[in-house]
């Protein structure tokens, strides 16, 4: 018997899953008729914040052919789709092992990231590049932003404090020293630069030893797009420290906030990220998680 084509496989699954949903829906509406009737009768008085929640129950999408999917449904699944496609696309171009990418691989990855995030990224900027664009990320601590900044006054909310207090603060300073001179001159830019910082091996970048000053100036707070290729999460980060040491086996480090958002951890469970320069000469791209 000949194998089914992609289209036949789709039809098979679509029919099966549509039937399953239809049965569930019918069972739900008949077993809990009064509650749903009450909801319909009172929908105007209720704060309906998510049409998706009911739309998914009574969804006509299950019966419709592709292309006739409503705008609401498309919006509901859009964020998921984009992440899934990104993960899938990256999976096809990344090697199985974590190693520096070839020029072709870097080109493919930068094209995918630029297209999916709408942010122009590249492995090389102004003739400068890091030792790698694909590496294992480790956990860093908070950096002191000004003299006197400590773990007790570092956070702006209780929620932040509860989440990130335990990571502690480095005893030393970041590669560029304090972010500002005092708490009085601390700006939102300084706060974000520390919050979303990464440490990269600037000292291993080709050409660094010959032009240390020029390279140091280039790397200072340079924005990079950091992406977890396994879940599609991405953060616009800035370089605020140099490290880790090559002997650690890691290629970069992330602030507690960066690691938390990317869902990356240190130790035996550590994993890779992609990190590419962002071309943002007018400084218009904000630091922080990139929303789909």
């Amino acid at each position: 018997m000949p194998k089914k084509t992609g289209n036949s496989q789709y039809k098979l699954l679509a029919e099966k899953w549509s039937n399953r949903h239809r049965n569930l829906q019918s069972e739900l509406f008949s077993n809990h008729k009064d509650a749903f009737k009450w909801l319909v009768d009172n929908s105007k008085q209720l704060a309906v914040g998510s049409l998706a929640s009911i739309f998914l129950l009574s969804s006509p999408v299950v019966a419709k052919i592709p292309g006739a999917i409503s705008t609401a449904s498309a919006q509901v699944s859009q964020a998921i789709d984009r992440k899934v496609f990104l993960v899938y696309d990256l999976k096809n171009v990344l090697p199985n092992d974590v190693r520096p990418l070839t020029a072709d691989e870097e080109k493919n990855v930068s094209e995918i990231l630029t297209r999916d995030f709408g942010i122009s990224v590249s492995a090389e900027l102004d003739g400068k590049r890091l030792n790698t664009t694909y590496g294992l990320i480790g956990q860093e601590q908070h950096l002191p932003r000004y003299p006197g900044d400590n773990i007790f006054n570092h956070f702006t909310s209780q929620d932040e404090s509860g989440k990130y207090w335990s990571y502690g603060m480095t005893p030393g300073l970041g590669a560029w020293g304090y972010f500002t001179n005092s708490s009085g001159t601390l700006t939102q830019t300084d706060i974000d630069r520390e919050k979303y910082y990464i440490a990269v091996q600037t000292f291993l970048s080709p050409g660094f030893d010959n032009n240390t000053k020029e390279y140091t100036d280039f790397f200072k707070y340079r924005k990079m797009l950091v992406v977890n290729p396994q879940n599609g999460k991405a953060v616009v980060s800035d370089i605020a420290d140099a490290g880790p040491s090559p002997w650690t086996g890691k290629q970069l480090g992330g602030s507690p906030e960066v690691m938390n958002y990317l869902e990356r951890v240190d130790g035996s469970q550590r994993g890779p990220v992609l990190y590419f320069f962002i071309d943002d000469p007018s400084d218009t791209i904000p630091l922080g998680p990139v929303q789909y």
């Binding site: 194998k3 089914k4 084509t5 992609g6 289209n7 036949s8 496989q9 789709y10 098979l12 699954l13 679509a14 099966k16 899953w17 549509s18 399953r20 949903h21 569930l24 829906q25 069972e27 739900l28 077993n31 809990h32 009064d34 509650a35 749903f36 009450w38 909801l39 929908s43 209720l46 704060a47 309906v48 914040g49 998510s50 049409l51 998706a52 929640s53 009911i54 998914l56 129950l57 969804s59 999408v61 299950v62 052919i65 592709p66 292309g67 999917i69 449904s73 498309a74 509901v76 699944s77 964020a79 998921i80 789709d81 899934v84 496609f85 993960v87 899938y88 879940n231």
Partner: protein
């Protein structure tokens, strides 16, 4: 509480999405299957929860659901349904297995 739905933290659907993405499908077909998977997950959660609630609690639950207040939804469910999290997780795990089995069968057929 993070996530698109109040139960988002109880199911890791990445695997399902990846399996669908790996099939040789057009974008619109892939989107449609993803929408169907999401709709089934949602209906499964609701059909797990509603039988556990009184008529008044069903209304409160549905009201919380449409207001998109995940925290309030969970608070209410936890107070009214014994082991709500376990029950939902169990249903979702079973559904996930069925999805993956369906995909595997479709790819082999």
């Amino acid at each position: 509480m993070k996530g698109k739905h109040f139960y988002s933290h109880l199911i890791e659907i990445h695997e399902i999405y990846l399996s669908i993405s790996e099939m040789d499908l057009k974008d619109e077909e892939r989107n449609h299957l993803l929408s169907l998977a999401e709709a089934n997950i949602h209906a499964t959660v609701i059909s797990t929860v509603l039988p556990e609630l009184s008529e008044d609690d069903k209304k409160t639950f549905l009201k919380n659901l449409v207001s998109n207040n995940h925290e309030e939804t969970w608070k209410h469910l936890s107070a009214r349904v014994q082991n709500a999290e376990e029950k939902i997780s169990k249903s979702l795990q079973e559904l996930k297995k069925e999805f993956l089995r369906d995909i595997e069968e479709a790819r082999k057929s």
